[in-house]
Amino acid sequence: MAKSFSIKRQPGFATIAMFCFFLLYLPIATLVVYSFNSGMSIATWEGFSFRWFESAWNNQQVVEASWRSLKIAAVAAIIATACATLAAIATTRTGPYRGLTFKYSVINMPLLVPEIVTAVALLILFSRVKVWTGYSGLGYLIVAHSAFCVPFAYMPIRARLESMDLSLEKAAADLYASSFQTFRYVTLPLLWPGILAGLMLAFVISLDDVVITEFVKSGGQDTLPTYMLGQLRRVVTPEMNAISTVFLVLSLAIVTLFFFLSREPQKNNE
């Protein structure tokens, strides 16, 4: 008898797999390695040092841009997650009705619309608003980031809600809980891992954004990614590598946390 078909046993499978992994991770590995280069070059290895990390840390512009990035990401992630939570409850806690699919599409639209279109649209809108209000602070970036982060925060929250037993909320209502108490004592505690996951996803997405930020920001409002983009036009030193490495570690930490948080509910349900 022939053994059942397995893709792993096909000729060339391992080779292609390895090739793909190299393609994906070799550039990143190179970047990380050269962030520890003691020389000026990002292509010739001259020795190990933390020099570029120090240099980045002492670079006022880098520190400011980083702070700005973190601030925007934190506020935008919180706003986006709050909106996404409300949207997720509204789209999962009612029976199917006309227009539900339309709502799904509206919520997820930012995933499909090319970023550049959103960026240009926001640029035009905000320039008008700036003229009317005279305000030119970080608010515009925060609003823009909140907007495109909503669908990312929405996905894990909705998934969590859909896996939650609807009869729990019925039981709460049956036991004299008002709809607010039901949310406060039953839905929210059970939804918490989903909300945290959504928050982190939104945070990482915001932290990483270049296109929309580039269009919306005013002078002196560089976030770390747009600052780095600006630097590339001048001289490229391993300082860029060092900054990227720090960002990489930060993102990995958040994604890992996200992974563990979204895994937990399955254990609980058993």
Binding site: K170, A173, D174, L175, A177, L190
Partner: protein, 365 residues
Amino acid sequence: MTDTRTTAAHGGAIGLHGIKKWFGTFQAVDNVSLDIRSNEFFTLLGPSGCGKTTLLRMIAGFELPTEGQVLLDGVDISRLLPNQRPVNTVFQNYALFPHLTVAENIGFGLKMLGKPKSEIDSVVKDMLKLVHLDGRGNNPVTQLSGGQQQRVALARALAPRPKVLLLDEPLSALDLKLRKSMQMELKRLQLETGITFVFVTHDQEEALTMSDRIAVMSTGTVRQVGSPWDIYDRPAERFVADFIGETNFLEAEVISVSGEKARVRLSSGAEINATYPEGITPKGKVTIVVRPEHARLGSSGSGMLEGVLDDIVYLGTDNHFHVKVDGGSTFIVRQQNAKSGHCGFSEQERVSIAINDDVAQILRD
């Protein structure tokens, strides 16, 4: 908010008046009127899709009747939200809150009512004792067995002292042995608390064991309401007779009616007395039902119906004799094995069936 919903010393009486429920174009409940008495163990019995759960959900407030009224102690509660009704539910899947401990689950209702912590603690303690879970208060509910979860669900629904407790097939997930002991347990809890229980099940044995009264439902309507004895021994129509237990249907002709009894002639010519449901005067050709245990098997020529013994099914405590009655139909006789050894009859033998006195019942349709 009224206080009556937690201080009820007696079970509430439920009145259902002309209840109709449509889901789109599907009618789940068709003009049901029922009176469930105070302190009663009342069962809604029927096959799946008969509307019994929908009816229960309308008492709980999860569904609103399309037409008709739900009364609690004479007060219309049809339009109240579930949290405004002094009625609690034990859900089929228990629906315990997985993020709370056993004690927190049981105390949930009282906490939502804003009761002081000392009162909640003492009620929870009493409830744990009532359902034999003393000392398990701090366990997470996810670590309990099915039977224990069932008891937590019961305690949680009883803790706020509802006027009526609704039970939606709560035993269906348990294995047979546990189910039997929980049946006794439920009956005990109902007697001890004095709360009106409305129990939904498709299991006729469960209904007969526990209920004070049973409403048999089919396709959205109530077919018969009565005590377990009424339902089993005096079924009013074919559906009820067929759904509950095993039954023999016989064609007969009414000869005379006197008082509550009618004299009917069987196809074999033998005459027996039969009771008939209220509200009809039997005449002409009728269908009568005789339970298998209400007839005896004898040697040919000794009884009322003659036939050939087709099959003997040995069931340990009983034998089921399938008799092919002359003229076509099959009649089942159930006889207890009072003695060990062979039953004394053999297959393909000619036998006779004698029907006991006053056991036959005429059907309405």
